[in-house]
């Protein structure tokens, strides 16, 4: 929840800055201020706003530029100080490793294995935990009673289950999917429980007195009301699951991104490790920014009013 604002980090940077008025931009007159002053704000933001034709593209460029600068810095430092490739690879070496793993198909295989596990574990967890969370949240007594239990288990969720998961399921697909399932399950169930129990009783009673039956109540009051919480839960849970995935793959499998990194360590192939780290970072950014954050924002805008009631 606290990360909500960074959620718009990519798309809306320029907009927000214009609206917010950074230190030097004086706030025009008392009552009418704030919003409808495009004329005045224009002069201020002309420097940054020379791009109204492709605002998204510009924002993306602005986002990528510092990263490109970082790559440049890395190249210069490695070259200037002659860093040993066993300590840290050069940019070309990493690009070469990337190309090599792409060509011989290992990269696709590892990414495929990792994503498949995440997809299976997550969808199973959501399918089980949302109905369970709703069922538990409906009665205030039950939800008060069960909240500590779910807090306890969502604390344990994920990585702490790796040892016992490998023992129960053996090394491989089963254990890792279980860890992911686990990480998502408890967090989502707990958040659903919270979301449902926070729907004001008045709203439910109002719907009931207007003649809503059980099904209508569920689909039109309970689920929409709890949706923002559910989506936030999924986002948090997936964050834990992703880390759990990498950890579990290092420990307990022979395919997947984590394994790719850990195998490269055995041969001191830092270029493969660094390439793998970049892939992991980009993948997570894509999942989080392009899938989860927009979803979260959309549900909050659409249904979030319940929180404020």
């Amino acid at each position: 929840m606290t990360f909500r604002e960074n959620a718009d980090g990519v798309g809306q940077v320029s907009l927000q800055q214009a609206g917010r008025g950074r230190p030097r931009s004086r706030r025009p007159g008392g009552a009418g201020g704030g919003r409808g002053v495009p004329g005045i704000e224009m002069g201020d933001s002309v420097a940054t706003a020379a791009m109204p034709r492709f605002p998204r593209l510009w924002a993306a460029l602005k986002f990528v530029a510092p990263l490109l600068f970082l790559v440049l810095l890395w190249e210069v430092v490695v070259k200037a100080f002659g860093v040993e490739p066993r300590i840290f690879p050069s940019v070309e070496a990493v690009a070469g490793a990337g190309l090599e793993t792409m060509q011989d198909g290992t990269l696709v295989r590892h990414i495929g294995a990792s994503l498949w596990r995440v997809a299976v574990g997550t969808s199973l967890a959501i399918a089980v935990s949302v109905p369970l969370g709703v069922a538990m949240g409906l009665s205030p007594a039950v939800s008060i009673f069960l909240t500590p239990l779910f807090r306890f288990f969502s604390v344990l969720a994920g990585i702490a289950w790796i040892p016992i998961a490998t023992l129960w399921f053996g090394y491989g697909f089963g254990a890792i999917t279980f860890v992911i399932f686990n990480a998502v399950f408890f967090v989502v169930a707990y958040n659903t429980l919270l979301g449902v129990s926070r729907i004001p009783m008045a709203l439910r009673q109002a719907a009931a007195s207007l003649g809503a039956g059980g099904w209508a109540m569920l689909t039109q009051v309970i689920l929409p009301g709890a949706l923002p919480n559910i989506v936030t839960g999924v986002r948090t849970g997936l964050g834990f699951a992703w880390r759990g995935l990498i950890a579990a793959e290092m420990i307990a499998t022979n395919v997947g991104l984590g394994y790719m990194l850990f195998l490269a360590r055995d041969f001191y192939r830092t270029e493969v490790i660094v390439f793998g780290m970049i892939v992991i970072g980009i993948l997570w950014l894509l999942i989080d920014r392009l899938l989860l954050a927009p979803l979260e924002r959309a549900t909050i805008e659409r249904w979030g009013m319940v929180d404020r009631a």
């Binding site: 606290t2 500590p148 604390v155 289950w161 834990f240 780290m277 997570w284 950014l285």
Partner: protein
């Protein structure tokens, strides 16, 4: 029957109102009972799912041998050191990113990207750099705690209303004093939230590093037990971890968060 249940429930509600601790303990009783019943019934082989009594016994022996307190101390010390370093680095960086638009434009994408890489993905290269050592573990922990703290501090700094800063400036406060007396208190609730998130991630990262680096600590205890095939000790490790975090989060961090929210939180409400 129903009357009895209702009576019991009302008693429970009254007790939890008087002693809030009851509420966080009682729900575990039926759970443990269920666990004991399943283990007793022999649905799963004993080696796969031992009962609570065995776990309690192994708790006794491990404490008696001094292994558990030592490992626990190792883990907690690592967590505290890592968190302290992460906060010490994260707050200044967060204030910088929050106050300076140029720094934010430069650093924000970098921060997001490095946060996305995730602590555990650093392990292989850290193992090459530092070997299986304490440095590796500390690095991972600092890394984990750092990002939530930086991002949330920056958010908090930006949520301090411009007017308050200007007011303090007009009254003659130096920029340093503005940071110290306006910005930091104003963003404190966010900082604490960041710390809480960071510790949540750090806690998990610690377990993973202890499993992989494996010299001591609760994570190591669990994985060592796994190698020996002793489910009892794995379960014990999990319970200790859960309890410890439950206590730290529920009795230390959450109250601090609530207190700062009440004391300084008004600033964010505008």
């Amino acid at each position: 029957m129903k009357v009895l249940l209702l009576k019991a429930w009302s008693l429970y509600v009254r007790w939890t109102a008087r002693y809030p601790a009851v509420r966080s303990i009682v729900p575990f009783i039926p759970l443990v009972a269920l666990w004991a019943a399943i283990a007793e019934a022999g649905v799963f082989p004993r080696a796969f799912l031992p009962g609570p009594v065995e776990v309690a016994q192994s708790f006794g022996t491990l404490v008696y041998k001094g292994i558990l307190p030592e490992y626990l101390e190792d883990s907690v010390v690592r967590l505290v050191v890592g968190a302290a370093a992460g906060v010490a680095l994260g707050i200044p960086l967060g204030v910088l990113v929050g106050l300076n638009a140029r720094a934010r434009e430069m650093l924000w994408p970098v921060l997001l990207f490095f946060q996305a890489i995730g602590d555990i993905a650093w392990l292989p290269i850290l193992l090459i750099w530092f070997g299986f050592s304490l440095t590796t573990m500390t690095f991972v922990l600092v890394y984990t705690v750092l990002f939530p703290v930086v991002l949330n501090t920056a958010l908090g700094v930006r949520s301090v209303p411009e007017d308050l800063r200007r007011a303090a400036r007009t009254l003659g406060a130096s920029p340093a004093r503005v940071v110290w007396e306006v910005i930091l208190p104003g963003s404190l609730p966010n900082i604490i939230t960041g710390l809480r998130n960071g510790l949540g991630f750090g806690w998990r990262a610690l377990i993973a590093t202890e499993i992989i680096v494996g010299t001591s600590g609760i994570g190591f205890l669990m994985f060592d037990a796994r190698r020996a095939g002793s489910v009892v000790e794995i379960l014990l490790g999990m319970i200790v971890l859960g309890l410890l975090w439950y206590i730290v989060d529920g009795w230390v961090l959450a109250p601090i968060e609530r207190a700062t929210g009440q004391r300084w939180g008004l600033v964010t409400r505008e």
